[in-house]
Amino acid sequence: MIKKLMILGVVLTLVLSACGPATTEAPATEPPATEMPATEMPATEMPATEAPATEMPATEAPATEAPSGDVVKATPGKELNMVFLPKFLGNAVFDEAHAGALEAAEELQNPAELQFLAPATGGEGAKQVEIITNATTQGVNAIMLSNNAGDQVAPAAQAARDAGIAFVTWDSPIPSAEGEQVFVAQVDFAETGQVMADMARNILGEDGGKFAVLSAGPDSANQNAWIAAMEEVLAQPENANLELLEIVYGNDETEKSTQEALALVDKYPDMELIMAPTTVGIAAAAKAMQDEGLCETVKVSGLGLPAEMVSFVKNGCSPEFALWSFKDLGYLTYYLTYMIASGDLQGVEGEQFEAGRMGTYTIEKDPTRDVGLRVLMGPFSQYNADNIDAAVSP
């Protein structure tokens, strides 16, 4: 008994001592002044530090600070700790985006190392919350998120904003836009729906046919938006003979995507196409159809990475697919985030900025969501047997 009381005592002392320095140190909700480039900014641009927790200074900037209409250029050489947080690790497209961000980091001569952090698998979207919270504790200057947890990240993102951290999403936004300053959209989401419907039309022919969608996770905001946009296109009378059977979710895991694709084949014998708006899903489905010898009856299309799709294009399993450059997406995201974190940009509607080699972009209202701002990258590239070799040659 005494032994146990002793242990309890020691543990409590430990916990208390761990909490002890709190009063002397700055709480995490207050951005550490030394790590913020506050001195290089007009005082009025930094309401984040004193603002009450619920206020979002970036979007509620006073009218006097309305963008002047000039194209803002980045001030290179500032030391900004930035976190690049994709949906999960080990996916080639996110590695490409990371490469793009690193390229921008070098151009902007940011001496701080770019942190590349993410959950280990696509099925653990909620772990992004933990990474955001830890980054907030570390007092980083900016977080760049490809959201894989729907609105579940919103509280953590808002806490990061309250701590004065620049918060930009890319690839996949926060649906409610809570805690997010700007979303860097790869392509127009409505256009994605149109492109997917067009590819389905090309593959299935004028007489139409039945197809299913193999998506990423049920909370992947980008995929959900694209599918919704595609359903709108499908609802038009000229597409009446394109029938969407079901939407299934492979969680961006190869094994689960393969299982879901094969389950679709079993369930719908008259299905002619699997549309996968995710690079993991399309490659898994194409491989499954190839391995099962089904490529003659069931085609695969959607959004894919050229390097992963070459063989499937050539053997006819996936005659056509589309994508944009993830490297450019990472590059543009880094430029925008750097400029917001450094104070060059405020992250409000109408601001124009120059993103290095990619040229000039504008922050605008996001028409695909009820709220939120976006920067639209574009355009789409469509790949087929004619251009796939050129796309993968270095």
Partner: protein, 334 residues
């Protein structure tokens, strides 16, 4: 001198040394670790599991196991979300969620205590079945936009810097400590875990104890599910997947025997602190996700092997110590 080190020879002592090591390592590696807010976050990010680990300690000491806790969390959350979506008053939905947990617990308990099925099998079917029901209710949707007080409860501090769930954890910890370590009911839990036949013949109502434990486990899991929903602001059928493993890791690493009968909440508290501080440290040091999973996996192996190996070491040490003492006494006597 050696006597004073005696407490350190127990498994709890080993855990304490490990914990101190982790705390020293973390605080020397990153200045953010000791920040007050980080210490709160460290609990808050895993608070549901930590709360469930308390009741899991009782269940494993009682020589049973409940691996359905993660699925019960999801089911309770989904029942609440489903009813809320249907337009019921939110307070009623919360009650329904908690009731769902208690019912699943009662079912588990009934199958274990009265039908005499192995708890591993019963709760394994629960793990699959309750999760399935959760998916049936919400399919692939996620439900959110709960009343503000609910989100606030999960995301904002309640008293001073302390969030509701953290305060709740410490209250439950104190209650659990009193019951398990110092009350008659707690002694029954140990006795049954050691040998339920003997307990039954000595007049302990084994069925009632087991039934009660499983009902509380269901209820606490449901509570965990609702706390998670409040913390994340939305509910989905696949929330809290894998929780059972992390909870069981915490309990086993704490020195509770998987065969029942031995263990203490002190050990579990230490192991909880070890796991949370380790994860937090790795997070702050930007250790990649895969490596974090690997470290936690290694910890699970340690949690099963560790206490047994340690028991062997300390027993052989004791034996030698006793022999030496005896030799010394004989020499004195001669």
């Amino acid at each position: 001198m050696l006597r004073r080190l005696e407490p350190l020879k127990s498994w709890e002592g080993v855990l304490l040394v490990i914990l101190i090591g982790i705390v020293i390592f973390n605080s020397s590696m990153t200045p953010h670790y000791l920040q007050f807010q980080n210490q709160i976050n460290l609990f808050q990010l895993h608070i549901e599991k930590v709360i469930i680990a308390l009741i899991m300690t009782f269940i494993i000491i009682n020589a049973e196991i409940d691996i359905s806790v993660g699925s019960v969390m999801a089911l309770a959350g989904c029942v609440m979300g489903y009813l809320f979506e249907k337009g019921l008053p939110f307070e009623l939905c919360v009650l329904a969620g908690l009731l769902t947990g208690a019912l699943t617990g009662a079912f588990n308990g009934f199958m274990v205590a009265h039908v005499k099925m192995t708890s591993l099998i019963v709760t394994l079917s629960g793990l699959i079945g309750y999760r399935g029901l959760a998916h049936v209710l919400l399919e692939n949707r996620s439900v959110g936009n709960f009343p503000e007080w609910f989100d606030r409860l999960g995301q904002k501090p309640l008293v001073g810097p302390f969030p509701f769930a953290l305060i709740l954890f410490f209250l439950l910890l104190i209650i659990a400590l009193i019951i398990l370590q110092w009350s008659g009911a707690g002694r029954y839990v140990f006795v049954i875990g050691n040998n339920s036949e003997v307990a039954r013949y000595s007049g302990v109502n084994v069925r009632r104890v087991k039934m009660t434990l499983f009902i509380i486990s269901g209820l606490v899991s449901a509570l965990g599910g609702l706390l998670l929903a409040a913390r994340l602001g939305s509910i989905r059928g696949d929330m809290a997947i894998g929780t059972e493993l992390e909870v069981i890791t915490m309990v086993l690493l704490g020195g509770v025997s998987i065969f029942g009968g031995t263990g203490s909440l002190f050990g579990v508290l230490l192991s909880i602190l070890i796991i949370l501080n380790l994860r937090n440290g790795m997070g702050l040091l930007n250790v990649p996700g895969e490596n974090q999973t690997g470290v936690i996996g290694a910890l699970l192996i340690l949690s099963v092997l560790g206490p047994n190996i340690w028991l062997g070491i300390s027993e052989s040490w004791n034996r030698r110590h006793v022999q030496r003492t005896r030799v010394g006494e004989e020499e004195k006597g001669g």
